[in-house]
């Protein structure tokens, strides 16, 4: 309701949602024709564009690194205009590298890497507008792009954030809520079919007894997002089918 109250006594958050509601999600696959797979993902005001190239020849032909499995390489870029204050980040910025590493680890578990031996899969993530939940948006968008690229995966990877405000678990934190000093912020990514967790990340402090509730809420959110991603894939497939049938 206001900047001061993240959760009003009437149960409404700053942007009018209730604690268990997701922001509006809008996503499309196949937005870039030059990439093998691409997606554009919006969750509230957080907008991410992902391009996937691969599987292709690894750039570094180092025999020591040649493995039987595909290598996943992730680059994460944040546009200088993504926050309200224009700020340029250098490529080597630790935070960017950290997010990229998280995404890479997540997909190393989801992509069937043994199918693409001695290859490299590049995922380029561009954050166009930042309003909270960047890691979750990156993971969801990357899933969509990988599916669009036709890369074999064990399952979708769907991510969602959840936090804890005024003794209530809240789902999908927006920028204002994340920026508040005391809000714990937990990001969970699961593979919906068997519910296994691909990524679990939290930077702030949360009491261990509350962890269960918050995680359960986040996993619920992931399942909803799974539906959205699935619909986007279907829509893209339908488009393709139409084009081919003419």
């Amino acid at each position: 309701m206001s900047r001061q109250e993240l959760l009003s006594p009437e149960g409404l958050r700053v942007d009018g949602r209730r604690p268990n509601e997701l922001r509006r999600i809008s996503c499309r696959a196949s937005v870039l024709s030059s990439a093998d797979g691409s997606s554009y993902y919006e969750q509230g005001n957080t907008k991410v564009l992902v391009a996937v190239y691969g599987p292709r020849e690894p750039r570094q032909r180092n025999p020591a690194l040649a493995t039987e499995q595909a290598q996943i390489n992730v680059e994460f870029n944040v546009a200088p205009f993504s926050t309200s204050e224009r700020r340029r980040r250098s490529k080597g910025d630790k935070r960017l590298l950290e997010v990229a590493a998280f995404v890479r680890q997540t997909f190393e578990g989801a992509v069937q890497r043994s199918v693409y031996q001695r290859s490299q899969i590049d995922i380029y993530i561009h954050l166009l507008q930042n309003d909270g939940g960047t890691l979750e948006a990156c993971v969801n968008a990357a899933t969509l792009a990988l599916v669009d690229a036709g890369i074999s995966m064990v399952d979708y990877v769907c991510a969602c954030t959840a936090g804890f405000v005024e003794e209530t678990p809240v789902l999908d934190l927006c920028g204002v809520e994340e920026a508040a000093v005391e809000t714990p912020d937990l990001t969970v990514a699961i593979m919906p079919r068997n519910g296994s967790i691909a990524l679990l990340q939290m930077e702030s402090r949360l009491h261990v007894s509350k962890l269960d509730d918050v995680m359960d809420l986040a996993i619920e959110g992931c399942k909803h997002i799974h539906t959205k991603l699935d619909n986007a894939v279907l829509a893209a497939a339908n488009d393709l089918a139409e084009k081919l049938s003419h």
Partner: protein, 1063 residues
């Protein structure tokens, strides 16, 4: 459900970042309820009601104030308790306040909405799709006004014709006929007309606020956002105080760790200590500039200083004191502060206040210091010494001479020495007793005056009928589902003359299979008569507890319940909640039964009667009744002895206790007697039974409500509080083990055994242990782990308050939880952890305030008693030096049961003010001072004054803790603050046995043995549980206590009270 989504672009200008654009999204929804109690169309209304939000009443009149009214007249809205109700605060208004950083006003609105009796709600109209105002122009202010109008129209349409909706505003921008096409006809009313027509009782307050804010910028709609932003950037940095940082800068600083948040406590007006929430050491703030307009109790943001800056601050600090001098009156009742406070400065962290997160301003009672230069700006001097003087506007000051009145602070601008405030209302003449009582009530925020403490019509209508023609009795419906215990022998033991009896007991032997006992505790079933959500329930929750002052009490629930229908009188059927234990011969619990019952008490005993019966004398009961009651009583007493012994072994503490009772002349309400309470064995028996019941209920409700049971904990004291105790007792050759309550109890018992010849030391050790305790408090079980539930003082793992629902709201909540636990249901608000947490926090605060109020009223009557007695002839009493202070002593007078200050040096430490009577021992010399005293030295345990060399005899006059002195007791009545008792020394200090004046040499010998830590700054307040339940205290046959008390003269050093029931 979520509907459309809109995005807003907002521009913010800040110093660092210049102009930035911010995009926020908002989701509009269609499920915002109207929060009217009678509306069935909004499905979410039920949830609101369950949460305990005060619902609007329709049909009726609904007030919708707009942003201009709320921002300027928030105080009138706040104070209009009984008059302004049924208010809808629109989200538009809250957002507008937020944009102008009016956080305090927003908090006040939230506070009004949180008080269920006001029936005020915050309505999310910006998010509600039906009240969406899309058009943005022409100005933001006009757009907001349209949005509020829309919300009001929606309410009118939604609630129908019988409801009147009034939109309150200060502006003329609304046009009357704006809305007919949509069928909602809203009445638009200017605030001044509204007050004049509908609530004239608020008009004086309204006018004074109007005058006070006439030149200010309280009305946020007066400036456009651009003007406001421009004005803020040019914040005046000159003036006495530094600018307070904006909330963005504070948030940034907190994140980076440069700034720290905490709560500040100000002592001596220029010295503050900030307690941090994260347990790190406190920060010191020194000097007026450093304090930067913070008041004691505020939540402040502090910037830490490095060494260089701290030194520079010290250098500046010296100059500021000149201002302080002119303020400082020469106060006879000021004995200074604890010695040694200055010595602890060694390596503490220093800081300066750079912002105030939350002000703790409240209405203050004050008297007037008129502006002699003939202007209209005067200073109001608050009765509370820790509050700065307040500048107010008032034209006709002759009306305010020697009157108490209430003022409120508005702001404290950076360029002003004092905060600015305004007059709220008059209380009455300072000399009148009723005004003094009102002042205590206002200062402790219990009520605005004694009149408002009467119960309203709405509450009285909910009460059952109980009159002489139709005395109340349980009906058939009442008896359903209750266990009928009317044939049991149940009796109650209470102070003599008590009418609100809330507990009764029964005890009988069981024959057959193993023997044993059937022990029952029966508590008045208040929850039966006060249903959740009713007016009486809301009032009781707001009051929290019955407030006991020295001569009167203010009940939590109406007298018809507390004294008649719920009270367990003898020989009538009464509804109760009972706990019945089946105990075996060794008093182990075989089985326990909880439930609702109906009982018929056989007799209401007084403590004295019961003790007489136990001692073998007659209790004065009927012939057929007395033997049966005696048998039960004897069995009960022996059982409770065993249980108490078990608890003592587990580590329960037996602490020192004294209480003062006042006796009043009914006609003139003069104080006729001050006496101390006797403690009989039967007191302990009843206590033990209640503790046993409370503990059993605590376990039961915790089982049923693991997250939301309302329990009571007592945290163990921290190590440093015990240091003084350890040091003091070590000087006499004892060791105290403070590692656990059992160890402490054993150590205290060892001391009482081995030093039974010196009751002085024993009592003292126990009193110091009492003072080292923390306060017990209520909490909801979900908010901490199970080990933290423990009660240190009682040595129990689970404890709650269950046995006094007539005078404590916590017990009512526990009753409700117990009843639901038995029934196995989880409905109602008592299952919500959030509600229980909020309630517990409120109750803790109410308890604290009522204890302070009780102490203040005791001090008030003590000073009146002294004033009466001293009026006839000089009142000279024996006293014991209790504490040494930097400018004097604190002496305890056992005959009067009071501690008074002895002023020996003035506040600026320049002149020594030793009265001549200290040397000549003649009362007539009390006001003459000895000239030319040369030295004045203060140690933690002694104070010495060097007499002028011209005097014959001893050169040094010194006082140590525990010296006996004779003092002249008088009252200082400045007409400004409450009359205060002060003492003047008559004669030199003497030793207890010989009554010879102590010479310096012999004193040195005894001082070494008497080095105790000085400075017991805190006092526990007398627990009113038993004595002041009756308006007139009973006087036993041996009412002349002086003979008895003299024997314990050195014992009763401290006025402390630690009733187990209060823990």
């Amino acid at each position: 459900m979520l509907g459309r989504r809109s995005e807003t672009l907002a521009f913010r200008r800040s110093k660092r970042q210049g102009l930035t654009m911010n995009v926020t999204e908002r989701y509009h929804r269609s499920d915002i309820p109207c929060a009217a109690a009678s509306c069935t169309r909004c499905p979410r209304n039920a949830e609101f009601a369950k949460q305990g939000i005060g619902m609007l009443q329709a049909p009726g009149t609904i007030l919708v104030p707009d942003a201009s009214v709320v921002s300027r007249y928030i105080e009138v809205l706040e104070q209009g308790d009984n008059v302004l109700e049924n208010i809808v605060f629109c989200q538009t208004v809250m957002d507008a306040l937020d944009r102008r950083n009016r956080t305090r006003t927003m908090r006040n609105v939230r506070r009004i909405a949180a008080d269920t009796r006001r029936r005020a709600v915050v309505f999310a109209n910006e998010v509600f799709s039906e009240t969406l105002e899309k058009a943005r122009g022409p100005t933001a202010v006009e757009r907001d006004m349209r949005a509020v109008l829309r919300a009001a129209q929606w309410y009118k349409r939604h609630l129908g014709k019988e409801t009147r909706v009034l939109l309150l505003t200060l502006k003329d921008l609304y046009m009357e006929g704006d809305d007919d096409d949509l069928g909602g006809r809203v009445e638009i009313c200017r605030m001044d007309e509204f007050i004049g027509r509908h609530c004239p009782v608020l008009k004086p307050h309204f006018d004074s606020v109007t005058a006070a804010t006439a030149d200010g910028d309280m009305d946020i709609t007066a400036l456009t956002p651009a003007q406001y932003a421009a004005a803020r950037l040019q914040a005046k940095a000159h003036g006495e105080f530094g600018r307070h940082l904006s909330s963005d800068e504070i948030a940034e600083g907190l994140r980076s760790g440069e700034l720290v948040r905490g709560k500040i406590r100000i002592m001596q007006r220029t010295h503050g200590v900030v307690e941090r929430t994260d347990g790190l050491p406190s920060i010191e703030v020194v000097g007026r500039a450093g304090l930067n307009r913070a008041c004691s109790g505020d939540a402040v943001v502090v910037r830490l200083l490095g060494h260089g800056e701290a030194a520079a601050q010290d250098a500046d600090g010296a100059e500021n004191d000149d201002e302080e001098v002119s303020d400082h009156e020469d106060d006879l009742a000021d004995a200074g502060d604890e010695p040694g406070a200055e010595q602890t400065q060694a390596a503490t962290v220093r800081g300066v206040v750079v912002g105030v997160a939350q002000r703790s301003w409240r209405p203050y009672v004050a008297t007037l210091q008129a502006d002699d230069s003939g202007g209209a700006r005067h200073l109001a001097v608050p009765v509370d010494v820790n509050v700065p003087k307040i500048r107010i506007h008032y034209l006709d000051t002759s009306v305010l001479e020697s009157q108490y009145f209430v003022v409120a602070i508005d702001t404290w601008p950076a360029d002003s020495q004092y905060p600015q405030g305004h007059f709220v209302r008059m209380l009455g003449p300072v000399s009148s007793l009723d005004t003094q009582i009102d002042a205590i009530l206002v200062e402790r925020q219990i009520a605005t005056s004694q009149k408002t403490l009467r119960f309203s019509e709405a509450i009285m209508r909910e009460m059952p009928e109980d009159s002489r023609e139709h005395p109340w009795g349980p009906s058939g419906a009442d008896l359903e589902g209750r266990r009928d215990l009317r044939d049991w022998l149940v009796f109650s033991i209470d102070p003599k003359g008590c009418v609100d009896i809330d507990d009764a007991m029964s005890m009988r032997r069981v024959d057959g299979d193993g023997g044993g006992f059937e022990f029952g505790v029966h508590i008045a079933d208040v929850a039966q008569f006060i249903a959740p959500g009713t007016a009486a329930d809301q009032e009781a929750r707001a009051r929290g507890t019955t407030v006991y002052l020295a001569d009167r009490r203010f009940n939590m629930i109406p007298e018809v319940l507390s004294e008649h229908v719920c009270s367990l009188h003898e020989n009538v059927d009464r509804l109760a909640v009972s706990v019945v234990w089946q105990l075996d011969e060794d008093l182990n619990v075989r089985d326990v039964w909880f439930g609702r019952s109906v009982i018929r008490s056989a007799c209401e005993l007084s403590y004295e009667q019961a003790q007489a019966m136990l001692d073998g004398r007659s209790g004065g009961l009927a012939e057929n009744l007395e033997p049966r009651v005696l048998e039960s009583l004897v069995e009960l007493t022996s059982a409770m002895r065993v249980l108490r012994q078990r608890r003592m072994e587990a580590g329960a503490l037996e602490l020192a206790s004294t209480e003062i009772k006042f006796g009043f002349d009914e006609v003139t309400s003069e104080v006729t007697e001050l006496s101390t309470k006797k403690s009989l064995e039967v007191h302990r028996v009843v206590e033990e039974a209640m503790v046993f019941a409370n503990a059993a209920v605590a376990r039961r409700i915790h089982e049923a409500f693991p997250q939301s049971a309302l329990l009571r904990r007592h945290r163990s004291p921290t190590g440093e509080r015990f240091d003084r105790l350890v040091r003091a007792v070590a000087s006499r050759g004892f060791a105290i083990d403070c590692s656990s309550n059992a160890a402490l109890a054993r150590s205290l018992q060892t001391i009482s055994r081995e030093r039974a010849d010196d009751p002085d030391l024993v009592f003292l050790a126990k009193s110091m242990a009492t003072l080292a305790m923390q306060e017990a408090d209520y909490f909801a079980t979900g908010s901490c782990e199970v080990p933290a539930f423990a009660h240190y003082g009682l040595a129990l793992d689970f404890y709650t308050h269950f046995t006094s629902p007539i005078r404590r709201y916590a017990d009512v909540v526990v009753h409700r939880q117990l009843i639901e636990a038995i029934a196995g249901t989880h409905d109602g608000v008592v299952a919500s952890q959030q509600w229980v947490n909020d309630t517990a926090a409120g109750l803790n605060e109410r308890n604290r305030q009522s204890k302070l109020a009780q102490r203040e009223s005791a001090e008030l009557f003590q000073s009146r008693y002294v004033a009466q007695k001293a009026g006839h002839e000089p009142l000279v009493c024996d006293g014991v030096v209790a504490e040494i202070r930097t400018n004097g002593l604190i002496v305890y007078v056992p005959q009067l049961g009071l501690r008074g200050p002895v002023h020996l040096r003035d506040a600026l430490k320049e002149r020594i003010k030793l009265p001549l009577s200290a040397i000549t021992a003649r009362v007539a010399d009390a006001d003459e001072l000895v000239d030319g005293c040369e030295g004045f030295s203060v140690e933690p345990t002694s104070l010495s004054i060097h007499l002028p060399s011209s005097r014959p005899g001893e050169r040094v006059l010194s006082f140590s803790t525990f010296d006996h002195v004779r003092v002249l007791v008088r009252v200082q009545d400045s007409g400004r603050r409450r009359p205060q008792v002060y003492l003047t020394i008559v004669g030199r200090p003497y030793s207890k046995s010989s009554k010879q004046p102590l010479s310096a040499k012999s004193k040195n010998g005894s001082v070494a043995g008497r080095q105790q830590g000085g400075g017991w700054a805190e006092e526990l307040v007398a627990d009113p549980a038993d004595a002041p339940r009756c308006a007139v205290a009973s006087l036993g046959a041996d009412s002349h206590f002086y003979a008895v008390v003299e024997k314990f003269a050195a014992l009763s050093v401290l006025e402390t009270s630690c009733d187990i029931q209060q823990l």
